[in-house]
Amino acid sequence: MSATTQPNVDVPASSTVQNLTIGKAINLGLRAAMEKDSKVVVMGEDVGKLGGVFRITDGLQKDFGEQRVLDTPLAESGIIGTAVGLAVRGFRPVCEIQFEGFIFPGFDQINSQVAKLHARTQGRIKVPMVIRVPYGGGIGAVEHHSESPESYFAHLAGVKAVTPSNPVDAYWMIQQAIFSDDPILVFEPKKLYHMGTLKAPVDTAAEPMPLFASKVLRTGTAATLVGYGPTVKLCLEVAEAAAEEGNELEVIDLRALSPMDLDPVFESVRKTGRLIAVSEAPSEASLTSEIAARVQQECFYSLEAPVLRVTAFDTPYPPSKLEEHYLPDLDRVLDAVDRSLEW
């Protein structure tokens, strides 16, 4: 995987539009937030000189100094716990967790302090911090580097969570999260960070869409696909393939994981009568469970088939030589679409 990717489309230097990968878009989003507010500090393991193991913070320490881009000691509870103190002090810390599999030492602080301080103090203390979490698989990694733990955090009242699937969202979501007064986890689909084919023009002068809103990416009438983060790209590919067979699928990018904006999903299901939820996380007690439960509650009389889910299995992440079988792919989602249509 290349750490940096050159834009493949020429854009005028004076333009506010840049052709970016997701990774570079987050980098520029961080930079924009840091320029806007001197209280924004970036902290994490290797985020300074190295620019992070994925280079997402590349160049920030050089330009903003060691007091605003902190190479922290190697302990995740320490990163989250000290960020809480900084937030209480009036800073807006942006923590990087190197890989999602390493967030759990920090889970106690996230659960017990980050999520609870505002309610505990009835709003006297705000915790405006961001926790960036590269997540998801498909990168041929060793254990703990490919998981999708977002459901743990969606279950947790007091924190919010979002995930970008494209460079435009990547650029804006990080900034919106930073300037929110609530603590927000940004789950970043690491497989897509530097994917050149996902490059898209990002207009830094545009008006961003709301942070906690899902988005219909493709309209259709046969069935609805809902995905988020890394599975959005997959859902769009599925829709493309299904269209060739004459089935127009509606594709929704969830974007916000907690709180979820399911109104567009309900609306879509009322039209299509069929829903397939696609996620890289195991299915048991997950976001896709939540989607299924709420869709059956809201769209009971519209459903022509049960809500189907295409997810990882309820097993630990396997050795990555097996991950192509573990993760949802084109065929598995198409199979689910067929099952739904044939119900």
């Binding site: 302990a75 320490g78 716990g81 103090t121 405006p128």
Partner: protein, 404 residues
């Protein structure tokens, strides 16, 4: 056995020297005397006022309490008496079912008042959940602190105005939060001279085993954070004695992190005041962090749900009664003409009045309304929670008279 105070001996052992693997094990005599191997202060214990009320001169620390004349000392005495009286009242109110639980501070008055009074308005204190005395010293009303224990709130005092963070119940969490706050004081440019700010964080001997405390020490050390780690070693983490947490005296751990550690007599209010002022001064000037181990004793149960008779000898408690933090100040003041009988009577009367007022307040505390469940979960509006609230209230409203 190696001399425990010599850290060099552990890293450069003499031939035939073994690490003091059994050093933490107290002898039978030590147990009966309440003096565990990890708890022996010995020559390293900083003390300005002995249990017998004798003033011990200290070249280093006397300057830090030079301003404490009889009047100021009477003030500290009164603080401790009021805090103890309020503590006993709260304990009694729990027994009467007026509080859900109480966390007694009995015996730790000097550690809390001494350190709490060392702070300046701009300093920030991060308590655990037993620091009612520190809260009092920071100007937080006892009434405000009781909501947590009556379970009507989680403590909603004005943290910023008082410089007293909310109670933290998960053991050790606050040590990292305080360290981050102190890093912020430094990043804000508030450290470096006499007017500098500092942070103090409270935790117990049990908490020293937590990873968060270790990480807090590491972070504070590498960022030179202006934070005083104030460990009240009250000898017991519920039922577990300090030797279940450490082989060596807790203050000596600081050495491994590269900052000063000091053990002070936690039952000596003057000693605690001086040592904490000294540590805060180091922090203000950018020479933090500092670890203080206040060597004290939890005279009552861990909480009102605890039964200490199952795990400790009453002899031990009796021994510690002789080291009472309040009595030694009374003796000192009396013997040196710093206060007369009428002063002590007056303080007792004020404490009784304080307790009565507290009692009346608690008995009339109202439960919060049910919709409070949904309040302030987030700083920004949440449509999903608004919906849950509305549904819940509509459901409640369905009962006759709106009462479930």
């Amino acid at each position: 056995m190696s001399d425990m105070s010599s850290a060099e001996q552990w890293t450069h052992p003499e031939e035939g020297d073994l690490p003091p693997a059994t050093a933490a094990k107290p002898t039978k005599d030590q147990v009966i005397a309440g003096l565990r191997a990890t708890s022996e202060g010995g020559a390293d214990l900083t003390q300005l006022l002995t249990p017998e009320g004798e003033r011990v001169p200290s070249q280093i620390f006397d300057p830090y309490v030079a301003d404490i004349d009889f009047e100021a000392l009477r003030g500290l005495y009164k603080d401790m008496v009021i805090v103890r009286r309020a503590d006993r009242e709260a304990n009694a109110m729990q027994r009467q079912g007026q509080l859900g639980i109480w966390v007694p501070l009995l015996g730790q008055e000097a550690a809390q008042i001494g350190s709490g009074r060392a702070l300046r308005p701009n300093d920030m204190a991060f308590p655990s959940y037993r620091e009612h005395g520190v809260g009092y010293a920071r100007g937080v009303s006892f009434k405000e602190m009781l909501g947590l224990f009556r379970c009507t709130s989680m403590g909603e005092w004005d943290y910023q105005a008082h410089g007293f963070h909310p109670y933290t119940i998960v053991i050790g969490n606050q040590v990292l939060n305080a360290t981050g706050y102190a890093m912020g004081q430094k990043f804000d440019g508030k450290v470096g001279d006499d007017d500098g700010e500092a942070t103090i964080v409270y935790f117990g001997d049990g908490a020293t085993s937590q990873g968060d405390v270790h990480e807090g020490f590491v972070w504070a050390a590498v960022y030179d954070a202006p934070v005083v780690f104030f460990c009240q070693n009250n000898q017991w983490a519920i039922s577990e004695p300090t030797e279940r947490q450490s082989r060596l005296p807790l203050y000596q751990r600081a050495r491994g992190y590269g900052f000063p550690g000091i053990r002070v007599d936690g039952n000596d209010v003057l000693g605690c005041l001086a040592v904490t002022r000294w540590a805060l001064e180091a922090c203000r000037h950018g020479n933090g962090p500092v670890l203080i181990e206040a060597f004290t004793y939890r005279m009552d149960a861990h909480t009102t749900t605890d039964d200490p008779t199952r795990y400790r000898l009453s002899d031990e408690v009796e021994t510690w009664k002789l080291k009472d933090p309040i009595e030694r100040v009374r003796v000192y003041l009396t013997r040196n003409g710093g206060a007369d009988a009428s002063f002590f009577e007056q303080v007792e009367a004020e404490a009784d009045e304080f307790a009565a007022d507290l009692r009346e307040f608690v008995f009339t505390m109202e439960d919060p309304p049910p919709e409070r469940i949904f309040d302030n979960v987030y700083a920004e509006p949440s449509a999903a929670l608004d919906k849950q609230r509305e549904e819940f209230l509509a459901y409640l409203g369905g009962f006759e008279g709106g009462v479930h």
